[in-house]
Amino acid sequence: MGVTCVSQMPVAEGKSVQQTVELLTRKLEMLGAEKQGTFCVDCETYHTAASTLGSQGQAGKLMYVMHNSEHPLSCFALFENGPCLIADTNFDVLMVKLKGFFQSAKASKIETRGTRYQYCDFLVKVGTVTMGPSARGISVEVEYGPCVVASDCWSLLLEFLQSFLGSHTPGAPAVFGNRHDAVYSPADTMVQYMELFNKIRKQQQVPVAGIR
């Protein structure tokens, strides 16, 4: 387990999501990265049930229940800007029991699937973000295995990202700043994914050229 940076890759001009993903993977293969199966991160949104809300009319918080194939036995439950709970996969069953408190938002399931590449100490995952049947964008996750302190290896990560993302290299993720010099945890990765998914969801309202 190392430090991970999750970023969004904009779809290239005049190309489909699929084509852009292919372009990226080809670049990675050219670098010498080895293909190591696939990966999948999914996220489901839950509303706080109306019956449990206070009379003041406060807005219900959203809870995201996520799974990551990198941690196959875990289930992550996150609030926006809030705590992150890591549980085992039985948590999904528990959510069914908690229907009275949390209700699943319909057609809110968003996931990213793609190929997993190993390049020395780096683990690169390029995935297509899909919501329902349609592809919404491209996610790029880069993990640097040997280090667990984000600030120590950010520049290295950045350099590596530049090598194949070029001008679309992202800035330092917000979670890096939250915990300065602290040990990076898998929950931070999930927070990044949650932010990415939220961002993509918001983009959905504004139709972007090039996304089909």
């Binding site: 196959p72 036995l73 875990s74 549980a87 085992d88």
Partner: protein, 659 residues
């Protein structure tokens, strides 16, 4: 009769009256009789009918026919005469039909015979006795008493002796009974105390009237299906009268027949493949049964042996199951009691279960054929360790307390969800190698290690110059061990230390770490290591010359570990060095190859070479100081015990003495 309980009692009482009257014993009743004539009273016999009174020894009233007292029938024979004594009468009041009559007759005849037998004695004692009693003869005395007092005495003595004897016998009987009981109690107590001791070491339970024990490793986590039950029995086949043997134990155990005898797992490595006919016919080496610890009871040894057999069977069952399941390049062979695997080409590892029951047949066969001891005891021991580790794993996976909502499994496995373990970590938890895989790996390592040792040793014994030393580490991992190899020249250990190799022997390969940090990986092939060491030895000689040159003040002109010129070596490369003497007059050039050996050339100054043709160019005499052509030294004719010593001699010969 008034006093008796029944008809027979009347008879016995009559007899008693007879006795007391005759013997003048101390009974009160006789005293009554005795005193009666003196006092003038008419004593009544307490056992006679009313009116049947005794007065002055004569019956006053003629007795009526009383009939038989015993059967109640009317007597056909009335009393014979009045002069008969009352007791006599009393006795005779039985009819001939009465069964007691016979008894009475016997008694009567006895009395008569006693009377006849002792007449002299009676005659002698008669008057004195009468005088002593103060009773006139013929006065109220029955004929019987008068005639045979001695007989009565004798009989009474007999009777009392018999009584005393009876008492003694009774006592003796009680004593024997109590002694037997004591012994039985003692045995019982011993059995119970033994049972208590047994319970301290073994699991016991009572089923019906049997005590069953459990010698399986199930409670320790074993999943072997054998029930491993033994029965506790009381050892009763011992004769209490005989001497109890020293090793006698009141408690015995009965173990299942398939766990009897002794067993062990044999692991061996053979270099050549066996004939197919030899498969599965491993002979059992006769191995003495483990001696019981002093003080430990007989059943403990028996149970321990049985438990060992069970464990060996479990190990073998586990191994054979894995051997069938695991897919390997060369499939493992399971035949009868043997598992054969090929860790390296032309090498076979055989694991066999040797089980000897105590019957003579197997012992006989074991003594007949004794194979050489090629056991790998370390592996046999490790197999036992591994199976126990396996037991522990199964036990810890169901360890309580356990969260009700969590899945079963290892604690680490359980925590892998909440702690968000990634794929690699989960893999590392899950990757549980089987017993067979582990043991094969260990066998490979052991074999590789022993072969490395053999290679180094054979090289060391074959090649005297340079010397090769191996320092083995004492403590090793099961899959890795290391050896430090030093190549030195005798007498120059301090200056020639350039070659120091660290050999890390793994499972499949050997990693060589050179002193300068180079890492070379060698395969399991013996030849590779041998070639490598040979090339290192050859390099050592050249390194030694370099070091020597420094010490001797010579100058190194050139040095190369891998010379590109000259004949090609089949192993590695030749190395070469050229050194010049301090004055610069002479130069020595050495070329050393692993195969071709060493070649030493000396370059002389031109002026010392007489056969050198005069050159037109080099006219000036100063050019004579230049070194001329090389001449080879006949190295094998040089004096000195080794290469470096010879070189030192050569260098000192070529260096001019400064003094």
């Amino acid at each position: 009769m008034s006093g008796g309980g029944g008809p027979c009692s009347a008879l016995w009482e009559g007899l008693r009256v007879l006795f007391v009257c005759g013997s003048r014993s101390v009974f009160g009743f006789s005293r009554v009789l005795r005193g009666s004539p003196i006092s003038g009273l008419q004593p009544r016999c307490p056992y006679c009918l009313p009116g049947f009174s005794v007065g002055a020894g004569v019956l006053r009233t003629p007795p009526a026919c009383l009939g038989c007292e015993l059967c109640g029938s009317a007597s056909s024979r009335p009393a014979r005469s009045r002069s008969r004594r009352w007791a006599w009468m009393a006795l005779r009041r039985t009819c001939s039909h009465c069964p007691c009559r016979r008894t009475w007759r016997v008694w009567h005849s006895e009395l008569t015979s006693a009377k006849v037998r002792a007449p002299r004695r009676r005659r002698r004692r008669g008057p004195t006795a009468m005088r002593r009693t103060g009773r006139a003869p013929g006065l109220a005395r029955t004929r019987t008493t008068r005639k045979n007092p001695q007989t009565l005495q004798l009989i009474s003595k007999k009777k009392s002796l018999a009584g005393a004897a009876q008492i003694l016998l009774k006592g003796a009987e009680r004593l024997t009974k109590s002694v037997t009981e004591n012994q039985e109690n003692k045995l019982q107590r011993d059995f119970n105390s033994e049972l208590l001791r047994l319970r301290q070491h073994w699991k016991l339970r009572k089923v019906g009237d049997k005590i069953l024990g459990d010698l399986s490793y199930r409670s320790a986590g074993s999943l072997f299906p054998h029930h491993g039950t033994f029965e506790v029995i009381k050892n009763t086949d011992i004769d209490l009268d005989k001497k109890i043997p020293e090793d006698y134990c009141p408690l015995d155990v009965q173990i299942p027949s398939d766990l009897e005898g002794s067993a062990y797992i044999k692991v061996s490595i053979q270099k050549q493949a066996p004939d197919i006919g030899d498969l599965g016919t491993v002979n059992l080496f006769k191995r003495p049964l483990p001696k019981s610890k002093p003080g430990s009871p007989h059943w403990q040894t028996k149970l321990e042996a049985a438990q060992n057999v069970l464990l060996c069977k479990e190990i073998f069952a586990q191994l054979s199951r894995e051997a069938v399941q695991i897919k390997s390049q060369i499939p493992h062979i399971v035949v009868k009691n043997q598992i054969i695997s090929q860790p390296f080409p032309s090498l076979q590892l055989s694991i066999s279960l040797c089980h000897s029951s105590n019957d003579k047949k197997s012992q006989k066969s074991s003594t007949e054929k004794q194979s050489p001891e090629d056991h790998l005891y370390v592996l046999e021991h490790n197999l036992h360790l591994l199976i126990r580790e396996f037991h522990k794993q199964t036990l810890s996976s169901i360890m309580m307390p356990h969260p009700a909502s969590a899945p079963f499994g290892h604690k680490r496995m359980r925590l892998s969800g909440p702690q968000a373990f990634d794929k690699n970590e989960i893999n590392s938890i899950q990757s549980s190698e089987g017993l067979l895989e582990k043991i094969i790996k260990q066998a490979k390592h052991i074999f590789l290690r022993s072969r490395t040792a053999a290679t180094i040793d054979s090289l060391a014994s074959r090649i005297e110059d340079p010397q090769i030393q191996a320092h083995w580490s004492n403590i090793n991992d099961v899959y890795e061990s290391s050896v430090k190899v030093l190549i030195t020249s005798q007498g120059y250990e301090q200056i020639c230390k350039s070659i120091q190799l660290q050999l890390n022997i793994g499972v499949e390969q050997i990693r060589v770490v050179h002193r300068d940090g180079r890492v070379i990986t060698l395969s399991h092939q013996e030849q590779e290591l041998q070639d490598f060491l040979l090339s290192q030895m050859s390099q050592h000689q050249v390194h030694a010359v370099q070091q020597l040159a420094k010490v001797m003040g010579w100058q190194v002109l050139s040095f190369s570990n891998h010379v590109g010129l000259g004949p090609i070596e089949s192993i590695g490369n030749a190395s070469a060095i050229t050194v010049a003497s301090p004055s610069g007059d002479y130069a020595i050039s050495v070329r050393n190859g692993p195969e071709s050996g060493s070649k030493v050339m000396v370059q002389f100054p031109r002026n010392q070479c007489k056969d050198l043709p005069k050159s037109d160019v080099l006219q000036d005499s100063k050019w004579n100081h230049l070194r001329g052509p090389f001449r080879e030294v006949q190295w094998n004719k040089m004096e000195g015990r080794n290469f470096v010593y010879k070189m030192e001699l050569l260098m000192s010969a070529l260096s001019p003495c400064l003094l």
